[in-house]
């Protein structure tokens, strides 16, 4: 048999024509059975119009992070968390954490540091008595990282429990305290690494590899996020609201399309929201945290012809409470987004310019490897 008769030689046009109809029906299932089902759910659950809410003491928390290579194996990072509350006078707070780390999964670790700082800033700000405390993102997403939840995946070695206990007891740390991530504090980082190394050596009977220590440190960072989140949900459950601008969650409609895309496509341009769906937030088994929390999930369009937002309210709230809450957000929204969140975003923002400025101030030239090319 000739090879030419077995192996295809397609043109890109042919491939596109063939794929187009399949892609189209996948992306736009409106006309099919799934589309009809989604439309009927939307018709049933979508509430048109949002009333005027009366909540005044609205606060918001957001964070930002950025990092840059200092040497070929280490990065400098900067993380911030900011707070804003409208009171008789606006209340503003901001905290930075700046440090260096090995480039082992550094992007994920810097993100964990930001989440920790946001959660700790939220915990500290509860004392100011906000009626609504807005957070950027999703509580559910913070606990559910799926396959990539820890540096070990879901199968966390048993000795990590011992490492956590040793760190907490030896250093007298409560990981939910303060405003920054403990493992990145320069004065504590070395001590924590020593504890980690000694436990790993005892468990394996030989000095641990550097990557093993890094992996355990990353796990502690992940654990710090979960502890802080649990503390926040426990203490602030009546005021906590998470707002996401983007989301690929499918929890609400369980459809092939993300929930946010369903709302965007199948609702009118007018303001409105979906009746809340209550889901349970539980912590992953490896964390050892047994607490669970009901989360009322909805999607809302705060202003005409703007993108919908994903909103999580901690607690099992009824529609009247939700409408009052969303009405209060709509009242202070600019281009369909709560202005408080926008304000804290601006306060927290860490851009490339700031990072370059930071490394210049440290008098350490940025290393990219391209210097040798004279670039």
């Amino acid at each position: 048999m000739k090879v030419e008769s077995e192996l295809p030689f397609e043109s890109i046009e042919e491939a596109v024509i063939e794929a187009r109809s399949r892609i189209s029906s996948f992306l736009f299932p409106r006309s099919g059975v799934e589309g009809d089902a989604l439309l009927s759910v939307i018709r049933r659950e979508w509430r048109s119009g949002i009333g005027q809410g009366s909540v005044e003491r609205i606060a918001a928390i957001d964070g930002s992070n950025n990092s840059e290579y200092l040497t070929l194996g280490q990065v400098i990072f900067a993380v911030s968390a900011s707070f804003f509350m409208k009171d008789t006078e606006p209340v503003v707070a901001r905290k930075y954490q700046i440090g260096v780390m090995d480039d082992y999964h550094y992007r994920e670790r810097v993100s964990l540091c930001r989440e920790t700082m946001e959660l700790k800033m939220a915990l500290r700000s509860l004392e100011l008595g906000p009626e609504i405390l807005l957070m950027d993102g999703s509580f559910l997403a913070m606990v559910d990282r799926g396959l990539w939840s820890t540096p070990y995946g879901q199968k966390v070695p048993y000795h990590m429990r011992r490492i956590l206990r040793e760190v907490e007891s030896t250093l007298g740390l409560n990981l939910t305290e303060g405003l920054v991530s403990y493992t990145h504090l320069v004065n504590l980082m070395g001590k924590i690494e020593e504890i980690v190394a000694s436990v790993l050596e005892e468990e394996s009977g030989k000095p641990p590899q550097r990557d093993e220590i890094r992996r355990a440190m990353a796990f502690i960072e992940r654990y710090e996020v979960l502890c802080s989140l649990n503390e926040l949900l426990r203490r602030g459950r009546s005021v906590l609201v998470a707002v996401a601008k983007r989301s690929s969650s499918r929890l609400y409609f369980n459809s092939r399309l993300p929930d946010m895309e369903v709302v965007r496509r199948y609702t009118s341009l007018e303001p409105g929201y979906l009746s809340p769906k209550v889901v349970e937030l539980s912590f992953p088994e490896y964390s050892g945290i047994d607490d669970t929390y009901p989360i009322s999930l909805t999607y809302v369009r705060l202003e005409r012809a703007t993108s919908p937002l994903r909103v999580e309210v901690v607690g099992n709230v009824d529609e009247s409470v939700l409408e009052e809450l969303l009405g209060s957000l709509a009242r202070y929204s600019v281009r369909g987004y709560p202005y408080h969140l926008r304000r804290v975003h601006e306060l927290a923002k860490i851009g490339r310019d700031l990072m370059s400025h930071l490394s210049r101030n440290l008098l350490i030239p940025e290393v990219s490897g391209r210097e040798r090319l004279g670039e």
Partner: protein, 534 residues
């Protein structure tokens, strides 16, 4: 005492310009002077522009004011930022101004408001002399601005503004100060605005004179301008005019002009040169072929039309301007004296005669000042003279060459040497002859609205930045940008009010109508009809 700190210098400054970031709560003002701390010295600068923004509102998608309402409700007052552009004026050394900096000020340098004492020293009169007290700095009511009279006379002046912008008041203030110092000034008052003007000081004298013109003192070129007969426009007529002019002059010297006037049956003084010219032309046209009178002009028959036309023009000018053309009336320049302002009331003249009167007088002043300077006579002629031309765009237009524009150009070029200073006052700078305007190195620019005028002023003025030009329409009455060597540094000035009495203030229509109505209602019907001539 340390002066108020305004901000710090931002990156990318140059030796001539820098940007300043202001401290929170500080609002720099355009036209204000600042002192910049440089490495070795301090630099004096002027704020030429200020940009303001708010951090919370700096978004391009906030296209409805409702969004501003929402944001301001949440954050209260926005976080203002202000950035000012500073034009460098000079280096301060021991409180004195030296040349322009050669290096930019350092980034981050502190910028302070210039202390009032420093500005008072800069705007003080020249040491040991009086200055022309013009007004106060716009941004500093406690600093008086004086002009240097020497520089004013020798480098000339242009006063530019829209109608009602404060030109006449500024001119009156300057004239008042010059005359108070004992100066010599002449004002060509095109619209009879200054008639009845008086000055406050005891020795100050104001004389309003009618624009008489002694035809006997005119040159043939001046006479040609008056008649509308120039070599360029009507060469044949001009040649015959020159010929008649020469013969009439000779007859005048021989005291025989009356004889020809009688022969031509022209009623005029026996020493009226223009009437004599008319008589010669008239007799030349009617003489017999064989006449041998050498004072009559021979001409070929085909030139008869040209000569008749010239005769008609001379006759027309004599009848039209009879009350102005007065033989042996002397020159307007004869009226000049120290501590005196001569106002030439041109309101009654048309533009052609105005051109001749003004041009003739300017040439006479320049000529006498020259002769005095080189020791060829006119020792008693008072100099320096400051000559002010109102409505200069009409007398010295850009599109045509007038007699006045030639005279003004001569003074602009030579006046400095011989002590004749020129001041052009105009509301349409772009219609002014650019060559002449560019030599008016000193400028007082009040409100200018028309964009082409602004651009023109910008081109003709060295220090004036684009930003400052953009403020010209928003200047209030009497507020002026003052530039040139008569002030040591450019200034935004609130020109003081003229303290004497000046005619020609803005018409108070409402008051006049009310007063007229009151008089009519109070008058008996007979008085009323008498008053209106009924």
């Amino acid at each position: 005492m340390e002066s108020e700190v305004l901000g710090r210098i931002a990156p990318n400054s140059t030796p001539v310009q820098a940007e300043m970031i202001a401290y929170a709560g500080v609002v720099p003002k355009v036209g204000d002077y600042v002192v910049v701390d440089s490495e070795e010295s301090k630099l004096l600068g002027m704020i030429s522009n200020v940009v303001r923004g708010a951090l919370e509102l700096a978004r391009n998608d906030l296209l409805q004011a409702n969004y501003y309402d929402t944001i301001l409700e949440v954050v209260g007052s926005p976080s203002d930022w202000l950035k000012a552009t500073i034009r460098m004026i000079g280096i301060l050394s021991g409180g004195e101004l030296t040349g322009l900096p050669r290096a930019p000020p350092p980034t981050g340098a502190l910028v302070r408001r210039a202390p009032a004492d420093l500005l008072r020293r800069i705007f003080a009169p020249p040491t040991g002399r009086e200055g022309i007290r013009l007004g106060k700095l716009l941004t500093r009511g406690d600093v008086t601005v004086h002009l240097d009279p020497d520089e004013l006379i020798s480098r000339h002046l242009a006063v530019l503004a829209v109608t009602g912008g404060g030109k006449s008041n500024s001119v009156a203030v300057i004239l008042e100060e010059i005359v108070r110092m004992g100066g010599v000034a002449i004002l060509f008052d095109v619209h009879s605005e200054y008639t009845g003007m008086s000055l406050g000081c005891p020795h100050c004298e104001v004389e309003t004179v009618d624009p008489v013109l002694d035809p006997n003192t005119l040159t043939v070129d001046e006479l040609g301008s008056l008649l509308g007969v120039t070599y360029d426009s009507a060469p044949k007529q001009f040649i015959y005019l020159k010929s008649a002019f020469k013969r009439a002059k000779e007859l005048l010297i021989r005291e025989r002009l009356g004889e020809y006037l009688t022969r031509a049956e022209i009623e005029a003084d026996r020493d009226d040169l223009l009437a004599g010219i008319q008589a010669i032309i008239q007799l030349s046209l009617s003489r017999e072929k064989e006449s041998d009178d050498r004072f009559l002009i021979p001409f070929p028959s085909n030139d008869r039309g040209s000569i008749e036309s010239l005769l008609a023009k001379v006759d027309f000018v004599r009848s039209k301007y009879g009350r102005v053309l007065k033989p042996t009336a002397g020159e307007l320049a004869d009226h000049l004296n120290y501590g005196k302002l001569v106002i030439v009331d041109l309101g009654q003249l048309d533009s052609d005669l105005t051109d001749v009167v003004v041009g003739k007088t300017l040439y006479t002043i320049l000529m006498r000042a020259k002769l005095k300077r080189i020791g060829r006579g006119y020792e008693d002629f008072p100099t320096p003279v400051f000559a002010v031309l109102e409505e200069a765009h009409a007398l010295i237009p850009s599109i045509e060459r007038t007699y006045t524009s030639s005279a003004a150009a001569s003074i602009a070029k030579e006046g400095r040497k011989f002590g004749v200073g020129l001041c052009l006052v105009s509301q349409r700078p772009k219609r002014l002859n650019p060559d002449v305007l560019s030599q008016m190195v000193n400028k007082i620019i009040l409100r200018v609205v028309e964009p082409e005028d602004q651009a023109y002023v910008r081109r003709a003025t060295e220090f004036l930045s684009e930003e400052m030009v953009s403020y010209l329409p928003s200047l209030d009455v009497g507020e002026a940008v003052v530039v040139g060597p008569m002030v040591r540094i450019p200034a935004l000035v609130k020109v003081r009010l003229f303290e004497g009495k000046r005619g020609g203030e803005s018409l108070k229509a409402y008051d006049m109508w009310r007063e007229g109505l009151r008089r009519r209602l109070n008058a008996s019907p007979d008085e009323y009809y008498d008053s209106i001539g009924g």
